[in-house]
């Protein structure tokens, strides 16, 4: 069953066509990878899906209904949460507050609730905090809850960003190079966490440079080159695809 369908996505920057007629289908409950050489259009594609860029043309379907990520604010509400390649936490907030902020889109408390703290407002706030703790434990960083986010170790900051995204109750969790800057042990632990998130019913979209990690992690993936999808399928199929070998090895392999 497909969760997100992207069809004929196109984006140009000036004279450069960054994403050219890309179509993808991400099934519910899978880890989907997006790989490709530098400049292939992975990040552009990712930013189009998560609303940071506006597509020139193309069409999205999320969970069977049309989805248009034209307003960034609406993307999280629709059920897509993302992380960033170069960590973007709320650095001056505590770790717990970061995750609580992720609950924003699923909560309603307004001005009167904040000022009066009536019973329902307190109940919502308590639930927000409870869920934030849950996601901190889930990602294994609960012991740092009251640290300032920027004081966490790098790997923990990465986990915090995932916890914050999970707090939005996403249907699709989109991770932009989650393993960037991690050592081998941290990568293994990350892989375990991501598989667990999938096994708990979430769908994941991952951009990653580390080919070994992504091949071991993904259920299916697409390979982009020069803004076009050159191969799609399971890691085993994609690995043998002649186009992929050509793109990676520079053409000599089959020339």
């Amino acid at each position: 069953m497909s969760l997100l369908q992207v069809s004929h996505l196109k984006k140009r920057f000036g004279g450069v066509v960054a994403v050219n007629d890309v179509s993808l289908t991400i099934n519910a409950g899978e880890i989907y990878g997006l790989i490709g050489p530098n400049g292939a259009g992975k990040t552009t594609c990712f930013n189009l899906i998560t609303g940071l860029y506006r597509a020139d043309s193309g069409h999205f379907t999320l969970g069977g209904s049309a989805y248009s990520p034209h307003q960034i604010e609406k993307v999280a509400e629709a059920g897509i949460a993302r992380t960033f390649q170069n960590l973007r936490l709320f650095n001056e907030m505590s770790v717990l507050e970061n995750v609580m902020t992720g609950r924003h889109v699923r909560t309603r408390n307004g001005l009167w609730a904040a000022l009066s703290r009536h019973r329902r407002a307190r109940a919502e706030e308590a639930k927000t905090e409870r869920l934030a703790w849950h996601w901190l434990e889930y990602t294994g960083i609960a012991q740092f809850a009251h640290y300032r986010a920027s004081d966490l170790a790098y790997g923990h900051q990465r986990r915090l960003e995932i916890a914050r995204a999970l707090a939005t109750d996403p249907r699709l969790l989109a991770l932009d190079e989650p393993a960037a800057g991690m050592n081998a042990a941290e990568k293994v632990a990350l892989g375990t966490l991501l598989r667990r998130i999938r096994d708990d019913g979430k769908t994941l979209l991952i951009i990653e440079h580390d080919v070994r990690l992504i091949m071991s992690l993904c259920d299916r993936l697409s390979v982009l080159d020069y803004g076009r999808v050159i191969a799609e399928g399971t890691p085993q199929a994609v690995r043998r695809h002649p186009e992929v070998i050509r793109a990676w090895l520079g053409g000599e392999a089959h020339a």
């Binding site: 999280a76 907030m93 924003h104 909560t107 001005l111 904040a114 004081d151």
Partner: protein, 367 residues
């Protein structure tokens, strides 16, 4: 390494300190007048007005991170609202209205305060809406312009129809009266004669307690977190589903409405308003209170307001006698000395305590 953020200050230990502080606050007018006469009670009253302003501005600058250099405009809006609706001025300009208000224009302050909050809040949105896309310096310049526009409007709206009485200002603003108690002259209360200045102090203090409670509750709420998120990274706030536009406007409106309430109090306290009270310099002073005290931190902002409004008065009164005692004559004019200290204080704080004198959290361990 003490990276752990203390959730709340240690309650038990500061209890006696809090009691002492509360006692000092309750007795403050008596202490001040015993030490130096009612002039000092007046100084304290003005300090409290500045605390209200600084707390209002803190919502915009501190919580949400929007550099507002024209905050005093909202103070002006509140003050002029009270001056227009609770003084003889409007009836003098429009004699036709006299049939509607045969006993003169005396709008109740119980109505004026919420009205000022509403109108100033609306002005806040009016200022906020066109500046949503601006940040930092650019926002500062636009808000600065807005503050000046309001002041210049007040100064020049005496022609063709005399609405604000121009540079001369509006006098004869009704003194606040609550439950039949007029805040003027000497007051007999429970058999004690106390100057109205004391009552003003308690009224302002109550208002500040309410504003502080509102600020603290806002800060520790879903709204406060959204503001904080916007302050740190607007784009990520959007990605988290926070409607940045609405939350910025809310911050502008709330900050402005606190400023408006302070303005009403100011007009009634003085009995007189004029454009001179709402210059750019005043905006900068209030901003300096927020920044110097501890941007975004309510106790810090209060400290900043107290220091920057009360200390210059101390300096003004003591500079001459001290210089005469030391040198036999006055070498530096107190007013120049005041500005010197002001600038020096800001430079030193920015150099050595860039997060303010009393910042929200211990950030030193990073150094």
């Amino acid at each position: 390494m003490s990276a752990i953020l203390s959730e709340r200050p240690v309650r038990k230990r500061i209890n006696s300190g809090v009691l002492l502080l509360a006692a000092a606050m309750i007795l403050a007018p008596w202490i001040a007048s015993a030490a130096g006469g009612n002039y000092w009670v007046r100084v304290i009253d003005f300090t409290l007005l500045y605390i209200m302003l600084a707390l209002g501005l803190n919502i915009v600058v501190g919580f949400t991170g929007l550099l507002d250099m024209g905050f005093i405009a909202f103070y002006a809006v509140g003050a002029y609202l009270a001056a227009l609706l609770a003084s003889p001025h409007l009836l003098e300009t429009f004699p036709a209205l006299q049939t509607l208000f045969p006993h003169g224009m005396h709008t109740s302050y119980l109505l004026l305060v919420p009205l000022a909050a509403l109108i100033a809040g609306a002005c806040g949105i009016l200022l906020g809406a066109p500046t949503l896309g601006l940040r930092g310096d650019y926002l500062a310049i636009v808000t600065l312009g807005f503050g000046e526009i309001i002041r210049i409007l007040m100064r020049n709206l005496d022609r063709p129809v005399n609405i604000t009485n121009g540079a001369k200002g509006i006098s004869g603003v009704d003194t606040l009266s609550l439950f039949g108690l007029s805040f003027k002259g000497m007051i007999h209360l429970f058999g004690v004669r106390i100057p109205a200045l004391y009552l003003w102090y308690y009224l302002f203090a109550l208002l500040i307690i309410a504003i502080v409670m509102a600020c603290v509750r806002l800060q520790r709420s879903r709204i406060g977190r959204a503001w904080h998120a916007i302050r740190e990274d607007e784009e990520v706030a959007r990605v988290m589903g926070i409607n940045v536009r609405n939350y910025k406007l809310l911050a502008f409106a709330l900050g402005a409405s606190f400023g408006g309430i302070a303005g009403v109090m100011f007009a009634s306290f003085q009995g007189f308003v004029s454009p001179e009270s709402f210059t750019l310099n005043e905006s900068i002073v209030v901003l300096a209170m927020v920044v110097l005290g501890g941007i975004g931190h309510v106790p810090g902002v209060i400290l900043g307001a107290v220091l920057l409004s009360a200390l210059p008065e101390v300096l003004r009164s003591q500079a001459v006698p001290i210089q005469q005692a030391l040198f036999g004559s006055v070498i530096i004019d107190p007013e120049i000395l005041r500005q010197l200290f002001y600038g020096l204080a800001l430079v030193l704080v920015m150099l050595f305590r860039p997060h303010g004198l009393w910042p929200a959290r211990q950030l030193e361990e990073k150094a």
